[in-house]
Symmetry: C2
Subunit: 246 residues, 2 copies
């Protein structure tokens, strides 16, 4: 059996194991509802301690690839449970994961004084009086998918320009590159609303059509709110997926 670790690899052993096991699952070598080797067997196979084995399996269980049954073994999850967890993704990543080519049309981009609602959502300090406001029409395979309105907290006195965003495409990449801000968590709410005439026009649907409204506050690695985003999705083109566990 393969000696596990490549000592020149800086990746932790448990994560190398995760990669190996996920490969053995997706390749079809390990089939749904069939047991993987027991933890003690994996110790011998890969020459790592049981703690490390369990660390890897724990992660795969949380990700939905495996499930455990006390006293029986650890088994491969059916395909249905192997995808769609609550991951923080950008619109572009979300679209690509669905096999759709993302696109955008920037309608407006400027520094603006935030409303009280936006101030509260972003928990803005009193001395910060401007945020970056962007309104974009988001496209999927060239067709309007949603209307995105976002407010971004930037370091005092700095800004972004339209050309930069158009060139890079992803505002997350831009924020990381320029200001070292990384999105790590978000709180999201979803609700159903009806399209106003303006929204309907932009999204090329009839006024009064149903829309899925996602409202999200994203937090940076410093645990501070870094953006407030609303996306109005066309209900006929967008469904939200979630995986729930007990």
């Amino acid at each position: 059996m393969p000696a596990i670790v490549d000592p020149n690899d800086y990746t932790p052993k448990y994560y190398q194991l995760v990669t190996i096991l996920r490969e053995r699952i997706s390749s079809g070598e390990l089939l749904p509802h069939q047991p993987i080797p027991s933890e003690r067997q994996l110790e011998d196979i890969y020459s790592v301690s049981r703690t490390t084995i369990r660390q890897a399996i724990d992660l795969l269980v949380r990700q939905g690839f495996l499930y455990r049954e006390h006293g029986r073994g650890t088994f491969v999850s059916p395909q249905k449970l192997q995808k769609g967890i609550s991951e923080l993704t950008s619109f572009s990543e979300d679209m690509r994961a669905r096999g759709i080519e993302p696109g955008q049309k920037i309608l407006e981009l400027k520094m603006a004084v935030p409303s009280e609602e936006v101030r509260q959502r972003l928990e803005l300090p009193a001395d910060q009086d401007e945020v970056l406001f962007i309104e974009r029409l988001r496209l999927g395979d060239g067709v309007p998918m949603g209307l995105m309105t976002s407010y971004h907290v930037l370091p005092e006195g700095l800004t972004l320009d339209r050309e930069g965003l158009e060139a890079v495409g992803s505002i997350y990449s831009l924020l990381q590159e320029k200001f070292h801000l990384i999105a790590t968590e978000a709180d999201e709410t979803l609700e159903a609303v009806l399209a106003t005439p303006r929204e309907a026009g932009l999204l090329q649907i009839a006024a009064g059509s149903p829309l899925l409204l996602s409202v999200r506050v994203t937090y940076s690695q410093y645990r501070r709110a870094m953006e407030y985003v609303k996306i109005l999705y066309r209900a006929d083109r967008y469904q939200y997926f979630a995986k729930l566990t007990r």
Copy 2:
């Protein structure tokens, strides 16, 4: 400092620690963005090994109560991040968590031959030809919140009656009690739709009002689909929460 374990308590130590730490957070003793004691300090305080400490902290981090920063410490999350993860809950649990008293009016309950759509969602074996069909109006503080349609896979030849469901209230309790079926995971999709005249009448809103449609397939401890549920929520009374992580 308090000796940790009550040896007469069968709860694992790491989980007792989780409870203790969550209590210290919610009581306000540990404040947002402030560090909790280091892992080595917690070893001494509670007389458990660092592995056990980390097991407890891992869980609280995943639940959003704490966050770690390598080389600095472990900190209390701001309130915003302390709630609303992807938990599999019943309608009743969901309502109670929102401070609303759940209720229901059973419109129909019978064994029925499933449509092809339902068969596929439930991955029904060929020899299973009947499922339990229930249609219920769900109430929140006595007012219509949603219309729930559900299909349940029961052991061959068995069923449930209306009186049992009305007495117990929760179908999950009933399924566990009678058939030892426990819901462990679910896949959910959310979309926006418009109310048909019938739905509008039952929900006491205008036809054409927006509704949030949740479609869920729930899996049992045996990793088999056990129910297929659609809930149409009144958009004016219901929002869906999710917490996302990177």
